[in-house]
Symmetry: C2
Subunit: 294 residues, 2 copies
């Protein structure tokens, strides 16, 4: 695999996820933290208008606008659809990008701890997962390879390789010290790894790493009129990446009825009760645990 | 003291504090929960437009618009200033109100648990504090009597008596099962107490109750240009109502410098890192602990 010569660290893709925005500010005044000898680093503030409005986005979710069809569709003209085209021009273009590697910094209101989200399991990503797991024992490796990287609509899919650093729990529009430190720690480990990979000095790594693979998305209970009639059950709240077996309660309806997990597998819920997903009535994502062979 | 014959339970004074809004919905379809023999109960959704916009408010904080000067000033015409005048007409008018007692339901992103906020320490409120403390050992009694109730700008100050039920931690625009249960529990205890008070059957109560009195508000560190240069220290985060002594760290600046508590007293911080207070750069409130004699 070729070297990574151009790395972009992106913050503020969602305007009310403050850790990445404030981390960028610090790194821009103290560039040595994100600089390594074998590549150049640039810092990109993806959605400043949403930040100034103190919202996730103005018109639509910026981190769902980078699929090839959307980027090519000139009739999609709202603010985030326009920002996506500009960022694709600035960092990409997708498929033949100027930037080799993107680290996109995100927060969640869910109790996901420091999570590294990978879009594919190539050699680089598998070694990166092992490298991070070894250095941050509380880190979670989440694989979202249900789509080809090029078909993903995430901002980080614009570069040759891209990852999401997702850290929670942090309410929207809040800056937590612990979450900030965790995000900075994971990001600097990733930069270290890219450098070691570039100079062919990747250290010995564990042969197996525990990881989670996205399976499906669950919605909050609704009635026939589309009104929410229940909430995430307190047995599940804050228990991201803890196992749920068929029959375990997932939701508590306002009429006192419990709704159980009806899947056929042991699921590892995450993005549990994420504030930003209420607009689509999404309650949580489900993953399966697996052993990633490095 | 006279009986309370008309009680109003208010939710959605802030549009992104979901517990009260959803509690009202449930109580409106199951009115027996909030009905007692000695008074009538009405349910009021204070700021539906902010809820539909998924924001705390459209133009300004509704729960700061009920001071007598603002209510009388017809040049204050924005959405929340107008809603305040309508609610004052509907529930008040302040000073000579139709409604005897208001319970205003709020959430905070801070780790304040179930907190009962009182605006004065008259016999009714002191007995209420003792009644709630005895039934909910995790409940906090917070007294904000630095202003006369009539001078307060809170919605609940419109009635003859009013309290705020403030429950956290809950991110904005999220509904947590545990927080919902806690809010409903405190609210039904309050209704029970009002009924017992009305029929002269207040039970024997503890003679002393631990309580906290609001002292002052602290701001996040800023530079001369008014930019935030630090965040709430992780030693303080989530430790609402735990003691801070002079010299304890309060803030972590982005340049690595710590800022300590410089007050002359043991302070009990609360509303620590509340998301809604960032617009005014507020970091937390400070209280003193005291023993409330019932």
């Amino acid at each position: 695999m070729s070297r990574f010569s151009q790395v972009a660290i992106v913050g503020g893709t969602h305007g009310n996820e403050f850790s990445g925005i404030y981390a960028l500010k610090q790194w821009q005044t103290n560039t040595s933290v994100t600089t390594r000898d074998s590549f150049s680093t640039e810092h990109v503030f993806a959605n400043p208008s949403a930040y100034h409005a103190n919202k996730r986005y103005l018109d639509c979710d910026l981190n769902r606008q980078f699929d090839p069809q959307g980027l090519a569709d000139l009739t999609l003209t709202n603010y985030e659809q326009s920002r996506a085209k500009v960022l694709n021009q600035q960092l990409g273009p997708k498929g033949d990008p100027r930037v080799d590697f993107i680290i996109d910094l995100h927060n969640t209101t869910s109790n996901m701890g420091p999570t590294l989200i990978l879009l594919a399991l190539d050699t680089f990503n598998k070694q990166l997962a092992a490298y991070i797991s070894e250095r941050m024992p509380d880190a979670i490796i989440l694989v979202e390879d249900h789509l080809e990287p090029l078909q993903h609509a995430f901002l980080c899919s614009v570069a040759k390789q891209g990852v999401i650093v997702e850290v929670g729990p942090q309410p929207q529009s809040v800056l937590r010290h612990d979450v900030m430190e965790s995000m900075q720690e994971m990001t600097t480990h990733i930069l270290d790894f890219v450098h070691l990979f570039n100079i062919d000095k990747v250290p010995e790594l564990p042969a197996q790493v525990t990881a989670y693979r996205y399976k499906e998305t669950l919605h909050l209970p609704q009635n026939a009129q589309g009104e929410r009639i229940g909430m995430v059950h307190q047995n599940v709240q804050d228990k991201d990446f803890e196992p749920i077996v068929p029959g375990d309660p997932l939701f508590m309806c306002f009429d006192g009825r419990e709704v159980a997990w009806e899947g056929k597998y042991t699921a590892y819920p995450h993005f549990i009760n994420e504030a930003a997903y209420y607009d689509n009535n999404i309650a949580m994502s489900m993953a399966e645990m697996f052993s990633l062979t490095v």
